[in-house]
């Protein structure tokens, strides 16, 4: 059986044919994005991954009534199979003038700008939900400087694509995981004035030390984001990228979960972060990549607790 994990690095076409994307972006997204979506789905079906995921997703939603189960199963498979299109779309077109005005509605931007004036940068948290992969690109289009922890295997890919597209790569610094302690590397970037874009549910079940309620279970959680904020003296801002219609997105930047000067309680802040992410994922569990983190086939861990809706 093909491992769904392969999806993470299955962008060989990007690495080997970067000029392809340089040509694509000369056309408007209305022309290219539908193709990318269909091509992505085609690749998934042709490789057999879509069929694998069908069975896997059915087991995840086994407790739901049949009709709802099938619907959620289809949505999760479609989401997992085509989520790369969001990031490609923003990567290709994010540098164009008028991109934000045409494609992104931003909630809470004034409050965010106010926080930035005061603190210069922040720890930005979001779950692996919906088009979260495109959020760094949207933030870059807004002019933010970001440190983004991602799978170490993908760092060369995005750096090469950025170079091909002529991006100012100093605006985004990738922190490859695994590698030297990620928290220390992100803290160093915070000190340089970068904001940190973190998705803490990625580490669920791997980081020890604290249990938090998440998706119906008590799960071990990472305290990294809370420590980064408290020790770095920066706010924690939850943000959520969503999309209801093709080619348009909404970036919601919520009230901070922490601002410097509040009681410095790492555990309490960690719980607040996870509680916020839990509420997001529960709104629509079929758009959560995190299901994959619980499946032994994704990581070979084999002993992971399964979340419940």
């Amino acid at each position: 059986m093909t491992s769904p994990r392969a999806n993470l690095t299955d962008l060989a076409v990007v690495l080997s044919h970067l000029p392809f994307y340089a040509v694509l972006r000369r056309y408007p997204p209305e022309v290219t994005v539908p193709f990318l979506r269909r091509a992505c789905w085609h690749d998934e079906v042709a490789s057999g991954r879509a069929a694998d995921r069908e069975a896997w997703a059915a087991s995840l939603f086994a407790e739901l009534p049949a009709q709802e189960r099938e619907q959620q199963q289809r949505r999760l498979v479609a989401y997992l199979s085509t989520r790369m299109v969001d990031v490609l779309f923003v990567r290709l077109y994010g540098g164009y003038q008028g991109f934000l005005e045409r494609h992104i509605a931003i909630d809470g931007r004034e409050a965010w700008e106010s926080l930035k004036r005061q603190y210069g940068r922040a720890v930005l948290v979001t779950p692996h939900w919906g088009p979260y992969l495109a959020a760094p690109g949207v933030l870059r289009a807004m002019g933010e400087r970001l440190a983004v922890p991602i799978d170490a295997a993908l760092v060369p890919l995005w750096e090469k694509l950025g170079a091909q597209l002529g991006d100012d790569q100093s605006r985004t610094r990738y922190v490859g995981i695994p590698g030297p302690p990620a928290t220390a590397r992100i803290a160093a970037r915070l000190a340089e004035g970068y904001s940190a874009f973190v998705t803490p549910d990625f580490n669920l079940g791997r980081a020890g030390g604290l249990s938090v309620p998440f998706m119906g279970r008590e799960l071990p959680a990472t305290t990294g984001p809370a420590r980064l904020a408290i020790e770095g003296g920066v706010p924690v801002v939850p943000l959520l990228l969503s999309s209801d219609t093709p080619l348009t997105y909404r970036l919601a930047m919520a009230e901070p979960l922490y601002v410097p000067g509040e009681p410095a309680d790492v555990l309490a802040l960690t719980r607040r972060i996870y509680a916020w992410m839990d509420a997001v994922v529960r709104q629509d569990p079929a758009l959560w990549w995190g299901w994959a983190a619980y499946d032994p086939r994704f990581r070979g861990a084999g002993e992971r607790p399964e979340p419940r809706m």
């Binding site: 076409v13 044919h17 392809f20 056309y27 022309v31 290219t32 539908p34 193709f35 091509a39 085609h42």
Partner: protein, 292 residues
């Protein structure tokens, strides 16, 4: 096709996807490229208004046809080997004629008007097993030749003869026939234009400078002269229509001009069935009459 055509890497990647995926992208991209050339669009609109003064729908269809016709040969050439484009998307009407020619002569003079998906006819002939020689403009020959060598393993069976400004084309095509090649000719434009003394023939409500080339090549080479068209009948659906022979060696030998008239009557019938898919309006001279 300027942007896409200048990017061979683009074609190399996109042909990995099936035609159903690639076709809409190519159509949309092509349309977009045309939108970036408002002057050309204006010229086309003026031509369309001149040739279809009373039929607004036909004007629009003709412009759309002109703007997308290059995609037919592109799909045939690039998507043939990874996706068996010909076998999957072309219906052949008249296969018996082709088989008989193949059995008895092994080559022919194939004529077609510049109508509908005619640009992909050499690809059809190639996939049906013929060695094909066709005349084309020098710069186009170079471009197609490059794609052909890059993407079609049977490219040695398809040759382009770049047209010189001053004659010689008919002799070269006749030599190709003698060497066993099938020649594909579109007589409603090229071969006649370069000859100032070319007689005019009535054609789709106007006059066309005619060429006797196809008739001469067939008669002198003693090979069948076959009319054919390729029609786009739907998205990614084509019908290759092979007509009964205009000339078959062995019977009474017609005069060159009689056979030439037959050729043009055949071509005119095809164009008249839907004049909004005739490329030839582009070169119809002012005063030669509107479409009927």
């Amino acid at each position: 096709m300027s942007t896409l055509a200048s990017q061979p890497d683009f074609f190399a990647v996109i042909r990995q996807y099936p035609p159903e995926l690639a076709w809409p992208l190519l159509m949309d991209a092509n349309r977009y490229d045309w939108q970036q050339s408002p002057e050309e669009a204006q010229q086309l609109a003026a031509l369309a208004a001149q040739h279809f003064p009373a039929d607004v729908a036909a004007r629009s269809r003709w412009v759309q046809y002109l703007q997308s016709r290059m995609l037919d040969p592109i799909m045939f050439l690039l998507w043939q080997e990874p996706w068996q484009f010909f076998e999957q998307h072309v219906t052949v009407a008249g296969q018996a004629v082709l088989d008989r020619v193949r059995r008895e002569y092994g080559r022919m003079v194939a004529v077609s008007p510049h109508w509908d998906a005619y640009l992909a006819l050499p690809g059809c002939l190639l996939q049906d097993g013929w060695r094909v020689n066709c005349q084309t403009e020098p710069q186009v020959a170079e471009w197609w030749g490059h794609l052909l060598r890059q993407y079609l393993s049977r490219h040695l069976n398809l040759e382009f003869v770049p047209m010189a400004q001053q004659g010689g084309v008919v002799d070269r095509l006749a030599a190709a026939v003698a060497a066993g090649w099938t020649v594909y000719i579109t007589p409603d434009y090229n071969l006649g234009q370069s000859a100032p003394e070319a007689p005019m023939v009535p054609f789709v409500g106007g006059q066309l400078p005619a060429t006797t080339g196809p008739a001469r090549i067939a008669l002198e080479g003693q090979v069948p002269l076959i009319g054919m068209t390729l029609q786009r009948t739907g998205p990614l659906a084509y019908t290759w229509d092979v007509a009964e022979p205009l000339y078959w060696p062995g019977g009474d030998t017609p005069a060159v001009w009689d056979l030439t008239e037959q050729v043009y009557r055949y071509l005119e019938r095809q164009v008249a069935s839907d004049p909004a898919r005739w490329w030839g309006w582009v070169h119809r001279r002012e005063g030669e009459g509107p479409a009927s």
